[in-house]
């Protein structure tokens, strides 16, 4: 059974915007130039079976949030249809229904009523909601005196305790302190186990890869790709990152030395972007030195899909002295057995002078690659752990 079905779904705005129009504007509108339509989502046809977790990724402004709004029913499609089966609850409006003058208790009931949950059910779950939000002693205080964290916690607690069939999540997992975040993630895993459907918008690619059965890639309002999260994320990184995405590639330098076609090789010596934890990763770096350069330094760095700096080093640090380069040549970077765990990474390369004064060529976040971990161990890095 499908939880969400969309057929030829589209949402159109006009470029001038529809906000705060005036009667004067409407009366004179016909004399002005035509409003250019802007489709923030178009031709989206998909079905999501019950029990799946779908990650939606794409550059900023690609239409991800519109898709969630359409699914939630807060915005009306301009064309096409979207149907949902069961109760939809979105975490994009944490505390949106809250009224500042009302107490936490009153707001829980108001918020639940907005979601269409009978009062009796809320009464039964009230204690669980309060416990989950950790707000026992503040529940009879007006929410205007709540901290922002308390506000969001109460909103999250209501949303997850009312047993939605479809849960929409929009970058809200960064709520509260780390303890509460872990609790939220636990609760989301729990939802998955109980066969709920989740639609999950995030820029945290690592999180999407970790949580989702499938990923949708949206670009310029089109659903361009769907499938295995790892593959879709890779496609996203290779094709669209840099268009206002979370990270952006850049290139600079005086180009006295220039990188050629860099190749990433796996254990078998094949060129690929998919590697395995424990396998080898070798980077073959062809270069062209347009003039003789004394003592150049080659360097590299690695970042995760979420932008975290993992490791960086260079030939100077590693005492691999290169007396000079001239003309074409190749240098090999061997990353040894890959210690990285499951996820997406970016490789940056640079070549500069011995005293770091002149940057010849630098490519930041230029080469994305993915690592799969077959061992089943968890975490970010593989350590040489052993038991005795």
């Amino acid at each position: 059974m499908n939880a969400i079905e969309a057929h030829n779904l589209g949402k159109c705005y006009t470029r001038k915007g529809l906000g705060a129009p005036t009667l004067f504007g409407a009366l004179t509108g016909s004399f002005r130039s035509k409003n250019e339509p802007f489709w923030c989502l178009r031709n989206a046809t998909f079905e999501i079976p019950k029990g799946r977790t779908i990650g939606v990724i794409g550059p900023n402004g690609s239409g991800k949030s519109s898709l969630l709004g359409l699914t939630a029913g807060t915005i009306t499609p301009t064309e096409g249809t979207i149907t949902t089966t069961g109760r939809v609850c979105s975490l994009l409006e944490l505390g949106a229904g809250f009224h500042p003058d009302l107490t936490g208790r009153e707001n829980v009931f108001l918020n639940a009523a907005l979601l269409g949950i009978p009062r009796e059910d809320v009464k039964k779950k009230f204690d669980k909601i309060v416990d989950f939000a950790e707000l026992r002693e503040f529940i009879d205080m007006p929410v205007k005196h709540y901290s922002s964290g308390m506000y969001v916690r109460l909103g999250f607690a209501v949303a997850v305790e009312v047993e939605p069939d479809i849960l929409l999540i929009d970058e809200v997992l960064a709520v509260g302190d780390i303890g509460f975040q872990l609790k939220c993630l636990d609760r989301i895993r729990d939802f998955q186990k109980r066969g709920k459907t989740l639609l999950f918008v995030s820029h945290a690619l690592q999180t999407v890869e970790e949580f989702c059965h499938e990923a949708f890639l949206i670009h310029h309002g089109q659903l361009v790709e769907r499938g295995d999260p790892g593959d879709v994320i890779m496609k996203f990184i290779r094709s669209y990152m840099g268009e206002g995405g979370g990270l952006f590639t850049q290139e600079f330098g005086t180009r006295k030395i220039e990188f050629g076609d860099v190749r990433l090789l796996n254990t078998a010596g094949e060129e690929t972007v998919n590697f395995e934890t424990g396998g080898s990763l070798t980077v073959e770096i062809p270069y062209t030195a347009h003039e003789r350069v004394e003592k150049p330094v080659f360097g590299f760095s690695l970042k995760t899909g979420n932008g975290m700096y993992v490791y960086g080093s260079n030939t100077q640090i590693e005492k691999h002295d290169i007396p000079f380069v001239e003309g074409e040549g190749t240098i090999k970077l061997d990353l040894g057995p890959v210690r990285l765990m499951h996820g997406n990474y970016f490789l940056s390369l640079a070549v500069h002078s011995w005293d770091h004064a002149e940057q010849f060529h630098r490519r930041e976040d230029w080469w994305p690659f993915a690592v799969r971990n077959p061992t089943g161990a968890l975490g970010m890095f593989q350590l040489d752990s052993s038991w005795s």
């Binding site: 906000g19 705060a20 009667l23 915005i75 409006e93 949106a96 009523a113 907005l114 979601l115 269409g116």
Partner: protein
């Protein structure tokens, strides 16, 4: 008629939400002011006092009972119009983020004001009884008709709240127009005067009095007065049927318009 029937089923299915929003509205209205709910009684009482003094100064006699009834009824309608106008724009956050039947917003406004009106009757009725007793009279035996007119006014107010609420999302000019419109309408409705006063004033233009009867607010306020006051018989000429019929028609029109426009609310806010 179909859209109105729909409306009642929406109200029934989401009655818990309606009650929540209504009580929220009532709570927030009176929280933080020292006299709280008393204001919704004190304001019309003060207004009534001002009109009485003002009319005495002009040496025009309008019975105090008539003014009292008119002022309370008028306050009910203006509150619904003003509240209804801001009910969507004021809940922008809610409308943009949560899916629920949008009709609940103006309905809860009217419900909250209706409750306020009912409670204000607790003061209005004893005050009227006192005034009537003072002049050696008592409530008219037609008083149950008061309930009918209350239903009629509530329907009219709901139509107005839907209309202004939806219009204000599309055109923010609405709030200015409504302000001016309410002032003009106030003088065109028998709030601080009665029909006898109007007939005397407009003795040279009898058609103007007919126009006055076609005003739904005139029909409703006259209805209230005829129901409660034994001496008052403002009459019900053919023109009054127009004002009477406008009430359900406007409710249907307001609901229809609100439903048509509500699909773009989230985009426009």
């Amino acid at each position: 008629m179909l859209s109105s029937m729909n409306l009642f089923s929406t109200i029934w299915h989401r009655r818990e939400l309606l009650w929540n929003l209504t009580s929220r509205e009532l709570k927030q209205r009176y929280k933080g002011s020292a006299l709280g709910f008393l204001w919704s009684i004190l304001t019309p009482l003060f207004m009534a006092a001002i009109y009485v003094v003002f009319l005495r100064l002009l040496a025009r006699g309008v019975p105090m009972e008539d003014i009292l009834i008119g002022v309370f009824a008028w306050q009910f309608t203006t509150q619904c119009v003003m509240g209804g106008m801001n009910c969507v724009t004021g809940s922008a956050n809610l409308v943009k983020k949560v899916a629920f039947p949008r009709e609940i917003l103006p309905i809860s406004q009217v419900a909250a004001n209706g409750i306020g009106y009912l409670l204000s009757l607790l003061v209005q009725f004893p005050a009227l009884a006192l005034l009537l007793w003072h002049s050696g009279s008592h409530f008219s035996s037609a008083w149950p008709m008061f309930l009918f007119w209350m239903v009629w006014q509530t329907m009219f107010n709901l139509g107005l709240a839907m209309f202004t609420g939806a219009a204000n999302v599309y055109f923010r000019d609405t709030q200015h127009l409504v302000g001016v419109g309410l002032s003009a309408w106030f003088f065109m409705s028998p709030v601080m005067y009665n029909m006898e006063f109007a007939r005397n004033l407009a003795s040279k233009w009898p058609w103007a009095v007919h126009l006055l009867y076609a005003n739904p607010m005139a029909v409703i306020i006259n209805g209230y007065r005829a129901a409660l006051l034994p001496g008052a018989d403002p009459g019900f000429p053919p023109a009054a049927w127009v004002g009477f019929a406008i009430v359900p028609l406007f409710l249907i029109f307001g609901t229809w318009m609100y439903r048509r426009l509500q699909k773009n609310f989230a985009d426009l806010l």
